[in-house]
């Protein structure tokens, strides 16, 4: 069945609006993703990411806009179309895993196939195949309640992919795991998704998870999309202060663009209290000469030097230096401003050292 589509993307969300009472949880957002890719909706709690996911799942209705996947319209209130969640052919991994405690691992995983009336032999084959994929073959006959957190997680994933659905949804699935397991599961999830190739949407507030796993990231805040792009793009070229602060760590300072030097490059006058320095920088989308902007510099792009080399260096004092093995986490004071700097252990920095900070124009970004 083919339906005329407004876009050639596999999943297309158009002008999605969702109200909860007087709160606009999702404010007219649109995005699309290609078949087989992995999209992450990233943002703090209350940014509308889970609401967006639930809208795609059909676990709540939307107020306006439309959602379609592979040419099938899931919901479009203006046409009074609302496809029940069970008719959307979606696999979903929930935050609490939602493994049914009254069933065994095999019963949990075969459930979607039983519902779809697969023949018994095929159910057995597919369940065995999927359990092998998530490395739960030994646990097949165990009751779901006997599994550890990480195993429940994998059981939940197996159940979501067993019927080869047209879409896979993840609602913060790793947030209940401890750090070590979480880091391991990130890679595992990504490997399995790659292997089965199902288009996936992943919701998280953990930026590291988003960077590791995604093909594309959508950064959201207060119901709006702040930026869409590949992980490297989002990290190295955040479009605004919000994104650069949310993804990774950044030194953020107010600055005014004094003059444009070449396309995409400018001189910015950075001032903090009574200190001023002029820095060459790259400029973000929509930044013009004379604009008040925010300068964003990642800690790993701040270089500590012992001797002043030019006027674009600033003088600071090391407040503390924490040795973390492969790098040193420093705080450098510049007047009352505290720079976050990642230094190399061989610099042998210690608290109280007078040093200079140098910046690369390529990694100094002026954003709105």
């Amino acid at each position: 069945m083919s339906q005329e589509t407004t876009s050639n993307k596999y999943l297309q969300v158009n002008n999605l609006v969702k109200w909860f009472g007087d709160d606009k949880a999702v404010n007219d957002i649109s995005f699309g993703i290609d078949e087989g890719s992995f999209l992450t909706l990233l943002g703090p709690s209350g940014c509308g990411k889970t609401t967006t996911l639930m809208s795609i799942a059909g676990l709540h209705t939307i107020n306006s806009g439309s959602i379609q996947v592979g040419g099938l319209v899931y919901t479009e209130p203006s046409q009074s179309i609302f496809l029940a969640p069970e008719k959307r052919d979606i696999g979903m991994v929930f935050q609490s895993y939602a493994i049914w405690p009254h069933m065994s691992v095999t019963q949990n995983v075969s459930y979607p196939l039983e519902i779809r009336k697969f023949p018994k032999s095929e159910i057995d084959d597919r369940v065995a195949e999927v359990l092998a994929l998530v490395d739960l073959t030994d646990m097949a006959s165990k009751m779901a309640t006997q599994l550890s957190g990480g195993q429940q997680q994998r059981c939940s994933l197996a159940r979501a992919i067993v019927s080869s659905p047209r879409l896979l949804l993840f609602d913060e699935p790793l947030s209940n795991l401890d750090l070590k397991l979480r880091e391991q599961m990130r890679l595992e999830l990504k490997r399995i998704q790659n292997e089965v190739g199902i288009t996936s949407i992943y919701v998280t507030h953990d930026q590291a998870e988003a960077l590791v796993m995604s093909d594309d990231i959508i950064v959201m805040s207060k119901g709006n999309i702040e930026q869409t792009g590949a992980p490297l793009e989002i990290y190295s070229q955040p479009v605004n202060k919000y994104v650069s602060n949310f993804i990774g760590v950044a030194n953020l300072l107010e600055a005014r663009i004094s003059k444009l030097t070449s396309p995409g490059h400018a001189e910015a006058v950075v001032s903090y209290e009574d200190m001023t320095v002029q820095l060459p920088c790259k400029i973000g989308v929509g930044v013009k000469e004379g604009d008040d902007t925010t300068i964003s510099i990642r800690p790993e792009n701040v270089h500590i030097i012992r001797e002043k080399t030019n006027d674009q260096c600033i003088e600071g004092k090391v407040e503390n230096a924490i040795f973390l093995g492969n790098h040193v986490d420093c705080r450098v004071s510049w007047g009352n401003f505290e720079w976050k700097v990642i230094a190399h252990p061989r610099d042998r920095l210690k608290a109280g050292d007078k040093i200079f900070l140098r910046f690369d124009s390529e990694h100094t970004l002026a954003v709105q």
């Binding site: 069945m1 339906q3 799942a57 059909g58 676990l59 592979g70 040419g71 099938l72 319209v73 899931y74 046409q79 009074s80 179309i81 609302f82 496809l83 029940a84 969640p85 069970e86 008719k87 959307r88 052919d89 979606i90 696999g91 979903m92 929930f94 935050q95 609490s96 939602a98 049914w100 405690p101 009254h102 459930y111 979607p112 519902i115 779809r116 939940s156 159940r159 979501a160 019927s163 080869s164 659905p165 047209r166 949804l169």
Partner: protein, 583 residues
């Protein structure tokens, strides 16, 4: 999986889309159930209000509109006194039940009283038994001439006359007080158990003694629970029919419930006047329940820290044996003594107050229990069969309603859920006898009148909220994601209910079912209004024997009912666990 098998939106029109969107399994079932619950709960109450403004003329055939019934309940020679007696009984019962319930809960939860863990189930036994049976048993114990305790006192201490007389308003307070003490107990035990012990410890470090700490810290902290329990006891005792009917009404102390009963049945029955009295009683109880739900219950969370620690208990020193003795005495007086009296009396062909060993017989059991026996008494044997039927069918239907209603309130959370939540409180606010009057005046001209079905309707309407609460408490502890993930796996709403939701709620459903089964087995105040010859229930059978036959037959059937209730209690405790009934 191809798209063909899923979702079919080929050139649909907007209106057919909208219709399709509305006609989901979930919507259809919930709308049907809401209508059933709404009609069942609201219709009798509306009819009750309307009936109270219909005045029967002197000949007793025609009615006209007016306030005559309201004038009559004020000017009647008996009714105002009955009203006063009701207030005295409720107040006395509330004070006694609260004192007993709170002190038992405190000893079991906060002190090192010996054996407190195994004492608790025995403290709660009266909750599962019928206060009417309690009244019958205590009548056998404390009647001035034939009472066992009085005879014992005369034999052993050579006392003239009687040391005890329960056939009066104080007897009613005594029996209802000990039978409703578990209600208060259940309201306070949860917050006492979960209370942070450091609150008490810090009071002790300031130099406050045990008594001072308990009075100034512990009890004030659980005060919302105490007040809730007290209000529930007041409302329950206001609607209690069996105890005043047995102990006080025959001796000149009428209450509102016995007066409603007199007006609802009998030769000079005046349903409209009965409905008016029921209105007056219902207005008081629903007001109190409203206060409890609106102002007192929400505050009770403030005292609870919610942490899962095991609180330290207070060391009572030598006083722990006093607490132990108090607990044992309560069990003896509330459970053991009444059952012993029923056993003794039921084994005598006639009861004169003396135990006559050579005349002991099982004839009373044959006559009341063996429906195939030619000497059996129909009212009693019918009662057993009818009650088993009503309890089984009633509990099953009520739990289905309770399940759907709980789902709507706690899962669907649509516009209707606030209304349904309200509909689940209303029946709790109206005593059984009041609701039964409403059911009677509503359905008296329909074919279901004088059948078991009208009893079934009354039972379910009045008591399904109890089952609903049982399910809701479990439903709230189960993640909604378990349901949602089944929908995402492709299962419809009905399949999800059948394969996921209901299996997960099974313990709650069974526990609620048994609770309703036991409530229906002992139910008196609805049955007494709605029964006719042939549709007697177990409790109506007891009433019949007590009124028209003799005490030994009454005792035999009472004991049979008690044994059934005790069996259900054991089943309930096994299924539901310790905390199931606590507020």
């Amino acid at each position: 999986m191809t798209t063909n098998t899923l979702g079919n939106n080929t050139k649909p029109t907007r209106w057919s889309n909208r219709l399709n969107a509305l006609c989901t399994q979930e919507n259809i079932i919930t709308i049907v159930v809401s209508i059933i619950v709404g009609v069942a709960v609201i219709l009798p109450l509306i009819t009750l209000v309307i009936s109270s403004f219909l005045v029967l003329d002197d000949l007793g055939f025609d009615t006209e509109w007016g306030f005559g019934n309201y004038i009559e309940i004020v000017t009647d020679p008996v009714i105002p006194k009955a009203f006063l007696n009701t207030i005295i009984i409720c107040s006395g019962c509330t004070v006694l039940a609260t004192l007993l319930g709170v002190s038992l809960a405190w000893t079991n939860a906060r002190t090192n009283c010996p054996g407190r863990a195994w004492l608790e189930p025995f403290n709660l036994i009266p909750f599962f038994l019928s206060p009417f049976i309690g009244a019958i048993a205590w009548h056998n114990l404390g009647e001035p001439q034939t009472g066992l305790l009085n005879n014992l006192a005369r034999d052993v201490f050579n006392i003239e006359g009687a040391i005890l007389n329960v056939d009066n308003i104080w007897g009613v307070i005594w029996v209802t007080g000990i039978f409703f003490a578990p209600l208060v107990y259940l309201f306070v035990i949860g917050s006492l158990r979960r209370m942070d012990p450091s609150l008490e410890d810090s009071a002790r470090t300031t130099g406050a003694g045990l008594l001072k700490t308990t009075m100034t810290i512990t009890l004030p902290l659980v005060m919302p629970g105490i007040l809730s329990g007290a209000i529930i006891v007041f409302v329950t005792s206001a609607g209690e029919f069996g105890v005043p009917f047995k102990l006080s009404a025959p001796y000149g102390w009428e209450t509102l419930t016995t007066q409603i009963f007199t007006k609802a049945v009998g030769d000079d029955a005046n349903h409209y006047l009965g409905a008016t009295m029921a209105m007056a009683l219902g207005a008081i109880t629903i007001f109190l329940i409203f206060i409890q739900r609106r102002y007192i219950a929400p505050r009770s969370f403030e005292t609870v820290t919610g942490k899962g620690f095991r609180p330290n208990v207070l060391d009572l020193g030598g006083w722990k044996w006093v607490a132990f003795a108090f607990n044992i005495v309560f069990i003896f007086v509330a459970v053991v003594l009444p059952i012993i009296s029923l056993i003794i009396v039921s084994l005598h062909p006639v009861w004169t107050g003396e135990i006559v060993a050579e005349k002991l017989t099982f004839i009373n059991y044959t006559k009341t229990l063996f429906f195939w026996d030619e000497n059996s008494i129909d009212a009693a044997t019918n009662g057993i069969l009818n009650s088993l039927f009503l309890a089984f069918v009633g509990a099953s239907i009520a739990m289905v309603l309770a399940l759907v209603v709980s789902y709507m309130i706690h899962r669907t959370k649509g516009a209707g859920s606030a209304i349904l939540d309200f509909l689940c409180v209303v029946p709790i606010g109206f005593p059984g006898i009041v609701l039964a009057m409403g059911v009677l005046v509503t359905y008296i001209q329909t074919p279901i009148y004088a059948t078991l079905w009208i009893l079934l309707l009354g039972y379910i309407t009045r008591f399904f909220p109890y089952g609903q609460r049982n399910i809701a408490s479990i439903m709230l502890s189960i993640s909604e994601e378990l349901d949602q993930s089944s929908r995402m796996a492709g299962a419809t709403w009905v399949t999800t209910m059948r394969r996921i939701t209901i299996p997960l709620l099974k313990p709650g459903i069974f526990a609620g079912w048994i609770l309703l089964f036991v409530i229906f087995l002992r139910e008196l105040s609805i049955s007494i209004i709605l029964y006719t010859s042939g549709t007697e229930t177990l409790a109506v059978g007891v009433y019949y024997l007590s009124n028209f036959e003799n005490e030994p037959l009454t005792a035999a059937l009472s004991l049979a009912q008690t044994v059934l209730c005790l069996i259900c209690m054991f089943a309930f405790r096994r299924l539901a666990g310790k905390e199931a009934l606590t507020a």
